[in-house]
């Protein structure tokens, strides 16, 4: 079964989620090939990185007009590539960019699409089933895709990287799709890990009393190489930006480690974080509902507990370097 992956990059660097998508595709191809599509200018040495995870072919469109993102044009390039390669499955990372493109590709190819996939497909004869969280993580659903071509938008950090070194043959492709959207300005926070891709997340709630106290959360996140997040009230009071709000009406995340500090654990918050592999809860209220969803708990005042953890994390990092 030929599988095509959209290999997203940011300013010429592939994201970890891109390598996850290639690893995922490699796991379902069997003996057939994984082809990656890359759009926009990027160094050719970078393209060969895709071979490390099993892409045997890279289709590269380097036309300058596609250096900025346009969903319609990108979808057109990807759909043409899929037809050329006779791909039966397309794997796209469910990033903001992927969320824009994947449905468009589905319409072009008349393909069934599932977004937020967290498992490899179960394939049995003609049945093809993938799993995804529903109700923002309050439940899981097995979804059958009944079309010939299938599109899977996979959740970042839900499939591990697997090396499977192959020499990736690089082929240039061209398109005449005209972008309709015009990018006017891009502001990216540099030196910070995007929350949706972070393996470690340190999060704060109302227990911190005000935005001026966020230093400790940022410090612990920085020591552990993680991202910062917050609860809905914190974002609603504008202590932190909405892009940090995790929960049912915010972002759903799936890190390896989620450290919740000063958050009681309302059902809407738990929905957004419950698929984290390990959850640590620090709260002064021993009855906080979050403890029922936690792996490790500390009952105590965040202002007293956090300095000890920061101190221990510093010592740990110093000794492991």
């Amino acid at each position: 079964m030929n599988v095509l992956v959209f290999a997203e990059h940011i300013d010429g660097s592939f994201k970890k989620s891109t390598f996850e998508a290639i690893s995922y595709a490699k796991a379902i191809t069997g003996t057939s090939s994984v082809t990656a599509v890359v759009i926009g200018e990027i160094d050719s040495s970078k393209l060969s990185e895709l071979g490390k995870y099993g892409a045997s072919k890279v289709l590269h469109n380097s036309q300058a007009l596609y250096n900025t993102f346009d969903g319609a044009a990108y979808a057109s390039i990807i759909a043409s590539a899929a037809q050329k390669e006779q791909a039966r499955v397309l794997v796209i990372s469910n990033s903001y960019c992927g969320k824009n493109i994947a449905p468009r590709v589905a319409v072009k190819l008349k393909a069934g699409i599932v977004s937020g996939v967290v498992s490899l497909p179960k394939i049995d004869g003609t049945s093809f089933i993938v799993r995804k969280p529903v109700f923002s993580g309050k439940g899981l659903a097995d979804v059958a895709i009944e079309t010939d071509i299938k599109i899977l938008a996979i959740t970042p950090n839900s499939y591990q990287l697997n090396e499977s070194p192959t020499d990736a043959a690089i082929e240039n492709i061209q398109s005449d799709a005209q972008p309709a959207c015009q990018s006017m300005e891009i502001k990216r926070v540099t030196g910070k890990i995007p929350l949706t891709e972070a393996e470690i997340v340190v999060s704060g709630g109302r227990g911190w009393k005000g935005p001026e106290n966020w230093g400790m959360i940022e410090e612990l996140a920085q020591i552990l190489g993680g991202a910062t997040a917050c609860s809905k009230p914190v974002s609603d009071m504008h202590w932190r930006g909405h892009e940090e709000h995790v929960g049912q009406t915010g972002i759903t995340i799936k890190p390896n480690l989620y450290i919740a500090t000063g958050i009681s654990g309302a059902i809407q918050h738990l929905a957004g974080v419950s698929s984290s592999k390990v959850i640590v809860v620090i709260n002064k209220d021993p009855e906080a509902p979050f403890f029922k969803a936690a792996d490790y708990g500390i009952v105590g005042d965040v202002f007293e507990v956090m300095p000890q953890i920061i101190d221990a994390a510093k010592k740990f990092k110093a000794s492991s370097n």
Partner: protein
């Protein structure tokens, strides 16, 4: 300006989710349904745009008759009229096909959706509609201005924000911060009763995907408590026992 706002009928965020009939159906017993919160932001923004520049706002929902309470709520908030496609919303593709059928000949300048619905979390309808209509689409927007026949938006991108413009007509999806939701007042509620609500039958398309079974997320076994006086021990446990750092 004519704006079409797509609203989805979803369980309230406080809903305790359970499944029934051998885990093949969502158990809606006692569940309160609301307008999907992101769709409500789109609706409010649509009203703000038409109040500033003139125009009308139509809401559309794909659902059975039980969704009409929330359609009336959207009318009470300020939408001018409403359309309900009389069908069960089986998957996003099916829903988008029904809405595209209405939108393509409706003369709309903007079709608005939410970033995702909080029940199935797919976030596909914006992109599906844009492609079905052959229009530009900008998803996850936190700001929109209309100038000279163009939509100028700010949208979330991975690790930042982008300012982007596209010509009308277009499809957009709302992210938190686009605006604040409005609460309907008594006059709005009274007026909503007599606003037009048109019911259309669906075009008969077969869905491409089907949920075969639901499952509850695995429960945490038990929480290991650490003494607050010895909190630094956590780091050791995370490294040696949980192996996540």
């Amino acid at each position: 300006m004519k704006i079409l706002v797509c609203i989805s009928n979803v369980p309230d965020t406080t809903t305790k989710v359970t499944f029934t009939e051998g885990n093949t159906q969502f158990n809606n017993t006692g569940v309160q349904y609301i307008i999907n919160p992101y769709d409500e932001l789109s609706l409010t923004k649509a009203l703000e745009l038409t109040e500033a520049q003139g125009g009308t706002v139509t809401v559309i929902n794909v659902g059975l008759v039980d969704t009409e309470a929330n359609i009336r709520k959207a009318l009470a908030i300020g939408a001018h009229d409403a359309i309900r496609i009389n069908a069960t919303p089986v998957d996003a593709y099916y829903v988008a096909e029904q809405i595209a059928e209405v939108a393509k000949n409706g003369g709309y300048d903007i079709v608005m959706t939410g970033r995702e619905s909080i029940d199935y979390n797919s976030g596909q309808v914006c992109g599906l509609l844009a492609e079905m209509l052959g229009w530009p689409g900008i998803n996850v927007i936190t700001k929109i201005d209309i100038e000279d026949g163009k939509a100028i938006c700010e949208r979330d991108i991975d690790g930042g924000k982008e300012k982007v413009s596209c010509p009308l007509p277009c499809v957009i999806s709302a992210q938190k911060e686009l605006t604040e939701p409005r609460i309907p007042n008594m006059r709005g509620i009274m007026a909503a009763r007599s606003k037009p609500l048109q019911v259309l039958e669906p075009t008969s398309n077969e869905p491409y995907t089907k949920i075969s079974v639901y499952e509850m997320p695995p429960a945490k076994s038990s929480c290991k408590m650490i003494d607050a006086a010895n909190a630094g021990q956590l780091i050791d446990l995370l490294h040696n026992e949980a192996k996540v750092i």
